[in-house]
């Protein structure tokens, strides 16, 4: 078994134009390694997305002998944890450092976003006026509404529920409580999605340190290890228009099924849930695709408060990409919040969290990564 022994976000998140993307990788890396009670020289494996792990490693003075450059969008870091767990178990690495840093808002030292007109997207989507995730990701929402009866009000209840969490999270960018009417009155971005149903665009970074359970127990740090109980990854399509079914994510289903099976648990065993919320419909798809509720039930489930503070399935307790932060590849922050909840150090702490599940998405339902994380009690460690 493996464990996350170090976890940290950059000191500042939100609007940070004076720090480059690479610096954010490095700052969070240093904080995470220190959080683990390790030295940078203990790191023998690196993983990163957005920027090259080679660039990150060299910047930090590491010559790694395990490198993972898996870049499948915002869930890349969950997939990095999965690969790191496998690599450590197989003896390929001992201490793997996984980093994220993105100047998503300020674009300081950020790579260009240039669509290639000869790529499948360039030939079969871009000619129709796509411009970033808001014009692609919500493509299936109207189909979902027609087939499963989701209402605009239920969709709007997703940011409302998450703001109830972020109201108690000092680092969250948006903390004021909002109503369904506020959401529906906010500016239309891409019908049916209003501004408050679309994620933030921010700067920030985060890093994780993964090692074996044996080494985790021997570390001097005061933080309890967070055990990796189950992992999954999957990919469906590079183009949202090619989704097999616009009312469900195949990648969510495949990835989460793997993670649940590996952990030997089911949805009823999950105390705390993080579902990547680039847009308000993602938690709805996620709750159903992961089996937490039945088909067509997620909108009402959220609207009735089940995922809000005091509800029976606390979800996106940092406020999510809709309220906390969203650098572009937000998945790193899912894992950070899951780790905080399992350590008992979250800003909006849920009582008695022993099993947390983080469900990441990459691209526009392009790929997915799932982590089932647990306390020592849940891991039997």
């Amino acid at each position: 078994m493996t464990a996350i022994v170090g976890a940290a976000e950059t000191e500042r998140i939100g609007i940070v134009p004076d720090i480059s993307a690479l610096e954010m990788h490095a700052e969070s890396a240093r904080l995470a390694v220190a959080d683990a009670g390790l030295k940078m020289s203990d790191v023998d494996g690196v993983a990163a997305a957005g920027l090259s792990p080679i660039a990150m490693a060299h910047y930090l003075g590491i010559a790694p002998t395990y490198v993972d450059a898996t870049a499948v969008g915002g869930c890349s870091f969950l997939v990095h944890v999965r690969h790191a767990a496998a690599a450590i178990t197989a003896g390929l690495a001992e201490v793997v450092l996984i980093t994220h840093g993105e100047s998503g808002r300020s674009r300081t030292g950020a790579p260009p976003r240039a669509p290639d007109p000869a790529s499948p997207q360039g030939q079969f989507e871009a000619p129709y006026g796509t411009l970033g995730p808001p014009t692609m990701f919500p493509m299936g929402v109207l189909r979902y509404m027609k087939e499963l009866g989701l209402t605009h009000e239920q969709l709007a209840s997703v940011p409302v529920a998450q703001r109830r969490w972020s109201a108690n999270v000092p680092r969250a960018m948006f903390r004021d409580l909002i109503t369904v009417d506020d959401v529906l009155a906010s500016r239309m971005i891409a019908y049916p999605m209003h501004l408050l149903e679309c994620c933030l665009v921010t700067d920030g970074g985060g890093a994780l340190v993964v090692t074996s359970a044996e080494r985790a127990k021997a570390l001097p740090g005061p933080k309890p290890p967070v055990y990796v109980l189950g992992t999954g990854e999957a990919a469906e399509t590079p183009m949202v228009s090619m989704m097999e079914d616009f009312t469900t994510s195949k990648a969510f289903r495949l990835s989460s099924a793997r993670a649940f099976a590996e952990a030997g648990i089911g949805p009823a065993d999950v105390d705390h849930l993080m579902i990547y919320d680039a847009f308000a419909h993602l938690p709805i798809y996620g709750l159903e695709d992961l089996g937490f509720v039945g088909r067509g039930e997620a909108g009402a489930f959220i609207a009735e408060g089940n995922t809000s503070p005091g509800g029976r399935l606390p979800m996106n307790t940092n406020g999510g990409g809709l309220s906390y932060t969203h650098t572009g590849m937000y998945g790193m922050f899912l894992v950070q919040e899951a780790v905080r909840q399992l350590r008992g150090e979250a800003a909006a702490q849920v009582p008695d969290v022993n099993v947390s599940l983080a469900q990441g998405v990459g691209g526009m339902f392009m790929a997915a990564g799932t982590l089932v994380l647990g306390s020592a009690a849940a891991a039997g460690a």
């Binding site: 007109p117 989507e125 000619p127 129709y128 929402v141 891409a190 090619m242």
Partner: protein, 157 residues
């Protein structure tokens, strides 16, 4: 830093707002060339697998359903239905005077789906009904012709 390079690293030039920006022009590759040769002639060409007999889109030389390389090009009827869409309020390059405009997925009569714009009808939630019948038409785009869809002739909507 020279004045020229300084200008190049500052915010986008003010003229970009007023310049006429063309819509994106797709660039065919060898595996997609027959598709774009078709659209230039006013034909919507898709591929059909001779092994499992299923039609598919986007163009590639192997069947995504059964992996057969025994596939052939066929001209679609051009009839389809509005499967899903969104209405973008963000002007993509070349779409500035059309905002808000629908970006849609059309399900072809043959089965495959493709992204498209919807023309010949107001791009509003009231006018764009899911599953409404559509037919293909073509929009000139640089040296290419891009398939888009309009309400089918004689349809109630």
């Amino acid at each position: 830093m020279s004045a020229a390079s300084e200008a190049a690293t500052s915010a986008p030039p003010a003229t970009s707002a007023t310049r006429v920006v063309p819509k994106p022009v797709p660039k065919p590759t060898p595996d997609t060339a027959p598709y774009w040769e078709g659209t230039a002639r006013g034909e919507l060409r898709i591929q059909r697998c001779n092994s499992c007999e299923r039609a598919y889109f986007y163009p590639r030389p192997y069947c995504p359903h059964c992996s057969s390389d025994d596939v052939s090009w066929t001209t679609a009827t051009g009839r389809g239905r509005l499967h899903t869409y969104l209405i973008s309020h963000r002007p993509a390059p070349g779409f500035g005077d059309q905002v808000p405009y629908a970006i849609a997925v059309v399900e072809l009569e043959e089965g495959p789906r493709m992204m498209a714009n919807i023309v010949g009808v107001e791009n509003t939630p009231e006018a764009l009904m899911l599953d409404m019948p559509l037919e293909v038409t073509f929009e000139e785009r640089g040296d290419q012709s891009v398939p888009v869809f309009r309400p089918a002739a004689g349809s109630a909507s």
